[in-house]
């Protein structure tokens, strides 16, 4: 520790050079952080997505309707714990641009386990008790200032039996959604209220949420459910939430080879740059190093001092770069929500910065350590 001032003055011997190296390393690790963070973040998001939750929808596409009558057949498949019918509709609030996704759920017993929502028990109770009740996604409640007890009119594409396509709901609470594919502007309503109120399309559902007992059996269970409806007018396609996450995020996984190439190029360029700079720095300081040795510094000490100088600059700069990456990450990953900078990348980044510092400073440090005092001072 007592040598810290010595290392410090070494760093500031040529401030311009140190600042440039600092910036260069910081820029490189910003890129490293964003790219690796994206890749690892996606992997984490996929791993965190539930495999025990299947979405059973029409084989013909997501918008093609199924019927409520299929529910019992799905429930009779061995291994199915819960199956909940879900109908989707798009609504608008006040302006046509303010879109709200209506998720109509029939809250049968155990329904919450078949969804990725977190709802406080009091709100759940109120939702079950209020036929016209609506649970609002927290972000949405904040955006429009909706509070429990508010009555909100939503214009939808579904006419009611009285001819109006504006539906009024009572806000009974809020919820959060852990699914990365879950829309930010969704509200939950009671299926029965929607189904009995609508003028046409009775007993139509968009999909079923199915909770299965064994997440490892997701593929087999999907096939078993789809087999029940093969050759029927309502052929189905079942996929787990994890499978869906994988599909939608695969795009970034496919770019893995490119990300790896970019990161390799960044680190290679960096290694070269820092090595040359340290070499230059040691060469310029021949006389000073000789003096250090004359006053009793061992070869090992000189070696360590040189390494320390490089390590401090690189790790500090790496840290700064990764901090920028972490701050910039929400913007870079805007199109995938719920993605956050994985901490493992920050640690790996700092370790890489240290490795770059040590590898690039090794040769200059060895030169400094081997310096002959007499020869070095002879030129003066």
């Amino acid at each position: 520790m007592k040598y810290l001032p010595l290392v410090w003055s070494g760093i500031w011997r040529k401030p311009g050079r140190s600042i440039l190296i600092f910036l260069q390393v910081a820029v490189a690790f910003t890129l490293f952080g964003v790219l690796q963070g994206l890749k690892t973040g996606v992997d984490h998001a996929i791993a965190a997505a539930r495999a025990d939750l299947l979405i059973v929808h029409s084989r013909l596409g997501f918008g093609v309707p199924l019927t409520l009558g299929m529910l019992e057949q799905i429930r009779s498949v061995p291994g199915v714990e819960e199956a909940i019918p879900v109908e989707l509709s798009l609504g608008t609030y006040q302006k046509p641009t303010q879109q709200v996704g209506l998720v109509a759920i029939r809250p049968d017993k155990g329904w919450l386990s078949a969804f990725t929502y977190s709802i406080s028990p009091a709100y759940v109770k109120a939702f079950l008790a209020t036929r016209t009740g609506v649970l609002v996604r927290e972000e949405l409640a904040e955006k429009y200032g909706w509070k429990v007890g508010d009555r909100i009119p939503l214009r939808t594409g579904l006419p009611q039996r009285n001819g109006s396509s504006v539906w009024t709901f009572d806000v009974v609470g809020t919820f959060t959604d852990s699914d990365i594919g879950g829309g930010n502007s969704n509200v939950l309503i009671n299926y029965d209220y929607l189904n009995e109120g609508r003028a046409s399309g009775k007993d139509i559902v968009n999909h079923f949420n199915v909770k299965i007992a064994d997440p490892k059996a997701a593929a087999a269970m999907s096939d078993a459910i789809d087999a029940r409806f093969a050759n029927s007018p309502n052929e189905t396609r079942s996929e787990s939430i994890r499978e869906m996450a994988q599909e939608s995020l695969q795009s970034i996984g496919d770019l893995e080879f490119l990300i790896r190439a970019v990161v390799t190029a960044v680190l290679a360029a960096l290694l070269f740059a820092t090595a040359t700079m340290m070499m230059q720095s040691v060469r310029e300081r021949t006389a000073e190093i000789a003096v250090l040795k004359t006053v009793g510094f061992t070869n090992h000490a000189v070696f360590a001092l040189t390494l320390a100088e490089s390590a401090i600059v690189c790790v500090a700069a790496g840290g700064a770069g990764l901090a920028v990456a972490t701050l910039a990450f929400p913007y870079a990953s805007k199109f995938i929500h719920g993605l956050s900078m994985p901490w493992i990348i920050v640690s790996v980044g700092l370790a890489s910065a240290l490795a770059v510092a040590l590898v690039s400073a090794a040769l200059p440090a060895a030169l400094a350590a081997r310096l002959q005092v007499a020869t070095a001072l002879a030129g003066r």
Partner: protein, 408 residues
């Protein structure tokens, strides 16, 4: 050096007016030659510039190669005599066009006729079906296009490699070779279950450079199986590309049909815009950050190079070299160092990435390093060299003569 002298003499030719300019040029070339010759003694900083620029340009070119590969693939089978007809207010291929409307389009003028004298209007109906990716086993939706058999006249680039065309009204499919490669269950003779009935794959075809999987079946057979009675889109081949405006007006003028015509080129461009802009954004985002890093490295290295030459620079100033000449020569040196970096970077990108196939966002295409991309890479490199050279060049020009000479 003799060639340098010859060159500077050449520039000095036009009379006394340019005597000063000629002198500056002579100084410039002399300085540049000495500088470049001196780099060999201490290759470290110069190599740093080359490596830094090579990495930045290599990454930029490799990433842009994705975009250019995607564009080439998208545009490979686009022709100006092909027109897409879609329902007003709907995206092409997602509309519903009645049989009467389709028949009305067939009666319009300007449409090319096939060898039997019938207008080349392809009626289409799209159905998503399941594909299972080879290797990963992932299931994804792929479009099954129901088309009229005159598709072979509309798309002459279709070349059957195995088997034959589907027969009208039969439960038969033909698929492009890409499907067989990417998905399982698309070999010739395979039967696919569609609506509980087996559909046999009777032909495999290639389509030039198109990298997408195309699955075709008879439109009437598909529509009857899915009980549809409207087409999702029409495609029309014109007698000549010049007829487009007249054809478009004819479609618009017909009050009976609620359709519009659009060039195939425009539809394909619009459809691929999101992908292209994401690829371009990613390329320039990463490329810019790499370039900033590379420029910072170049500044540092040039400072080191200039510092190691203080004595020489001071001597030159003492014997009458102008600061402006020194600035120009240093900037030029910096850009000359960046140039090989750009070429190495572009070459590495070409060796490692050109022809590699990528499939981001559900599209599959081959990366393609084109001369245009190399030109962009070289431009970036020169820019990096120039910007990186400014500060060190100013320092070189400001070397205090007496102090520098005394220190030596």
């Amino acid at each position: 050096m003799t060639s340098m002298k010859a060159l500077s003499r050449l520039f000095a030719l036009p009379g006394g007016l340019s005597a000063a300019a000629g002198k500056a040029l002579r100084q410039f070339f002399a300085l540049l030659a000495v500088s470049l010759a001196g780099l060999g003694q201490r290759p470290g900083p110069a190599l740093t510039i080359v490596v830094g620029v090579a990495c930045a340009v290599g990454v930029l070119v490799a990433m842009l190669a994705m975009g250019s590969g995607a564009r080439r693939q998208e545009m490979s089978n686009v022709h100006d005599d092909r027109v897409v007809v879609a329902e007003l207010g709907q995206r092409p291929l997602f509309g519903s066009i009645s049989r009467q409307d389709a028949a009305a389009v067939q009666d319009l003028p300007y449409i090319r006729r096939d060898k039997d004298g019938r207008p080349i209007v392809v009626m289409e109906s799209m159905i998503p079906i399941n594909g299972v990716r080879r290797g990963t086993g992932a299931r994804i939706f792929i479009p099954l296009m129901g088309v009229t058999p005159n598709i072979t006249a509309y798309r002459p680039e279709m070349r059957f490699t195995v088997g034959r065309m589907f027969r009208p009204g039969m439960h038969e499919l033909v698929v492009s070779n890409i499907c067989t490669r990417v998905f399982s269950g698309f070999e010739i003779g395979d039967r696919r279950q569609i609506r509980g009935m087996p559909w046999t794959i009777v032909g495999l075809f290639g389509e030039g450079e198109n990298g997408q999987c195309t699955i075709l079946g008879d439109v009437n057979a598909i529509m009857s199986v899915f009980s549809r009675d409207t087409y999702s889109g029409l495609e029309v081949m014109l007698r000549s590309p010049a007829d487009f405006d007249a054809f478009r007006a004819a479609v618009k003028a017909d009050p009976a049909v609620h359709l519009f015509a659009e060039r195939q080129r425009k539809v394909v461009t619009d459809n691929s815009k999101p992908l292209n802009s994401v690829l371009d954004f990613a390329s320039y985002f990463v490329g810019t950050i790499m370039a900033i890093g590379g420029t910072l490295g170049a500044i540092n290295s040039l400072y080191a190079i200039v510092d190691s030459r203080r004595r020489e620079l001071a001597t030159l100033r003492a014997i009458g070299f102008r600061p402006g000449t020194i600035v120009a020569a240093t900037l030029c040196e910096s850009m000359l160092l960046a140039l090989p970096g750009a070429l190495i970077g572009a070459a590495l990108a070409w060796i490692f990435f050109s022809g590699l196939s990528a499939s981001p966002f559900g599209f599959t295409f081959q990366l393609e390093v084109t001369p245009d991309l190399v030109r962009i890479g070289v431009t970036w490199a020169l820019l990096m060299g120039f910007i990186g050279g400014i500060l060190p060049a100013l320092r070189a020009a400001r070397v205090p003569v007496t102090a520098a000479l005394r220190a030596a």
